[in-house]
């Protein structure tokens, strides 16, 4: 699926960007002389050879914080997307294969969940539940899975009416086999594209929650939390909040560029099968 010679230039840019951020988040901290919590300078100290992009609001090295922040964001968004896909795809496929009342119940519950604005719903839920990373990821995943459910149900409905699925039913195969062996392999390419897209959305969503103070709690910080912590500096002409902001933007852009090229090849659902 990822072959350098087949990629468009935009996909290559996205791919390189993604590799860069992953290395930045996972290899970077080993190269940094500081830890994330260590206070090594003054509040919002200007960049120097000691601290390449300066210090944050408490005098911690901003570059090191940025590495850990990126790592948090990638991990949380990745986990949330993975869970939302497992949930959404399995339920969506099952609804499409089984039809009848299970489909009705699932689809209407999803409609119900989708009718409430996601961010507001998350704010309400998170203000009631304990402020815990796992809760945060689960809430994001469940809300996101409604979109995945819609897509995978639509894709599966298209595949489920094909003769080879009917042949499997006539053989007497169970729902499990039909979902995992007959439908999933044929729905893979649109789903992979959607995975990248949802990952970018989950990243933005988690960052917004952290920015509002409902996400990651101090002393840990993801990119959204870092913007919140440093946003006062902007008034004094200090760029500290812009670095995590730019990281979010570039990361989202890289993922989108890569996903676009996959989508382009699979925009027709049938083309993805061949």
């Amino acid at each position: 699926m990822f072959k350098w010679s087949n990629m468009s230039w935009s996909a290559r840019v996205g791919f390189c960007g993604l590799i860069f951020f992953v290395l930045f988040a996972y290899v970077g901290p080993f190269l940094s002389p500081y830890t994330a919590e260590e206070v090594v300078g003054d509040t919002w100290e200007t960049p120097s050879s000691k601290m390449l992009i300066g210090a944050d609001s408490l005098g911690r090295d901003l570059l090191t914080r940025l590495m850990y922040g990126t790592r948090f964001t990638i991990q949380l968004a990745g986990a949330a997307t993975l869970i939302s896909f497992t949930l959404g795809v399995m339920l969506g496929f099952t609804a499409a294969v089984v039809r009848g009342w299970p489909d009705q119940i699932l689809s209407r519950s999803v409609d119900l969940l989708m009718s409430i604005p996601t961010l507001i719903f998350a704010l309400v839920v998170l203000s009631v539940l304990p402020r815990d990373t796992i809760v945060l990821v689960l809430v994001t995943a469940v809300l996101d899975s409604t979109r995945v459910f819609r897509l995978s149900r639509a894709v599966a409905l298209d595949i489920a009416v094909q003769d080879f699925v009917e042949a499997a039913r006539l053989r007497g195969e169970g729902t499990r086999w039909i979902v995992l062996r007959e439908i999933l392999p044929n729905a893979l390419s649109p789903l992979v594209a959607e995975f990248g897209l949802r990952f970018a959305f989950a990243m933005l969503f988690l960052s917004s929650l952290s920015f509002l103070g409902l996400g990651i709690q101090p002393p840990d910080a993801d990119l959204g939390r870092m913007i919140k912590d440093n946003k006062e500096g902007i008034v004094y002409g200090i760029a500290a909040a812009l670095y995590p902001g730019a990281t979010i933007a570039l990361l989202a852009l890289s993922v989108n560029l890569l996903v676009d090229s996959i989508l382009k090849r699979t925009s027709s659902l049938k083309g993805g099968r061949g």
């Binding site: 003769d163 006539l170 053989r171 007497g172 062996r181 392999p185 044929n186």
Partner: protein, 545 residues
Amino acid sequence: MSDNELLLKIDNLRVEATTYPPGEPPKELVIVDDVSLTLNKGKVLGLIGESGAGKSTIGLTAMAYGRGGCRITGGQIWLKGRELLSMSHGGIRGVRGAEVAYVAQSAAAAFNPSHRLLAQVIETSLKRGMPRRQAEARAIELFRKLKLPNPETIGERYPHQVSGGQLQRAMTAMALCPKPDLIVFDEPTTALDVTTQIEVLAAIKDAIRDENTAALYITHDLAVVAQISDEIMVLRHGKLVEHGTTDQIINRPREDYTQRLVSVRKIQKVEAAEGAKPILEVRNITAAYANGLTVLKEVSLAVAPGHTLAIVGESGSGKSTLARVVTGLLPPSDGEIVFEGKTLPRALKDRSKEQLRILQMIYQMPDTAMNPRQTVESIIARPLQFYFGMHGAERKRRTVELLDQIEMGAKFLDRYPAELSGGQKQRVCIARALAAQPKLVICDEVTSALDPLVADEILKLLLRLQAETHVAYLFITHDLATVRAIADSIAVMFKGELVRYGGKTKVLSPPFDDYTDLLLSSVPEMQLGWLEQVLSKRRMAAAGN
């Protein structure tokens, strides 16, 4: 106007296309290779060949058009003394529609569903400056000529409000309306039932003779083209095989390939004697779809072990629904399905694994009947594992055995369906059905998506497998030649009811009921003048009443 005036002349035509197989460098394909033809005013030239022969591509080049990535890379196309390929874009647009028109295979897909027929029929004429009143009068005159019912008002209908055969005739009217010199007919009757095909064929033939229009008639059915064309060109793999008058091609074919095409469908199964206790009995089945439409009314049939029961009828006769009822996909509202003396549960989910195993199905479209993401091995091996719990080496050995049985062999184990030809795909589907060691196989139009020579091979294979494994077939088809080839007994269905049922010789010999007579006499025969004979016979019969 002289009839010998040259209209279209194609010299050394070469058409190429680029394909992009996934994961491989792009490949250049030659679609049409060095084909030349000439067509005089008012004459009909038949282009015939199997799929991939390049016949549609040649037809479209008469309008200087290349479909989906096809490039005309060599040759010249002369229409009325002008060379089309060297003309400007605007010049070619002036030719299309006005001087050369096109009739597509599927009229249902070619008409815009949200406009009335009349508006679409006269569209080109209006664009070419014909006054609306005159264009409408011409359209109505053409509707009458093409024997459409209510010619004055049928134009007010939308495409979905007329039948498939009527739509195909409306499309012919659309092509004829701007008085073109040449019409390209691309398989205009292939998607129609035989009883409808004969009407459309007769209407097209009369209309183009009256209008003195020349035509390129593209089809894969030699018997059809023999009725309508003056000359025939046989094509294969983009090359010309044989070109001659219709009489010469049909009665004295020179090339080996043409001889095989002419003699296709000459297999005849000798009807097996009745006697054995039936393996499948369908008793008084009535079935309806969720919208309340009754599609089967009190149908009763029986199939003996090792025998073939062919179910014949046109589209909408309920023959495929009957297959769905027998398999349990559509539980009947009334009646019984009895297999080897035991009543089968009506719904699929209530049937046991054993009951599912002994009844297998083969589909019309082998492309969609196999999971494109599974290899040939996993497709054939799954029933072995599912029904018999076979694993590892034993399963593989049996899979190869089945592949040998369908004359394909072990080298196909790792192939994906996309890497197989149409005939090979259908063979794999047959192997998958056989893997379950069924007692009855339902064959739903298994040869109608295949080229005639390939279809013949598949029928021979099915007959051989029947002799070897003593399996019974429930063979659903609209093609009477196939029925003659494979059936022991025949059931003729019309509008959900059984109109005639019995042994093959009995069903196919007179006295006939009206519908069977119509059906049998509508099957095109490979002889000149067949169409006229049938039509005059029918006219006499109608006058006699």
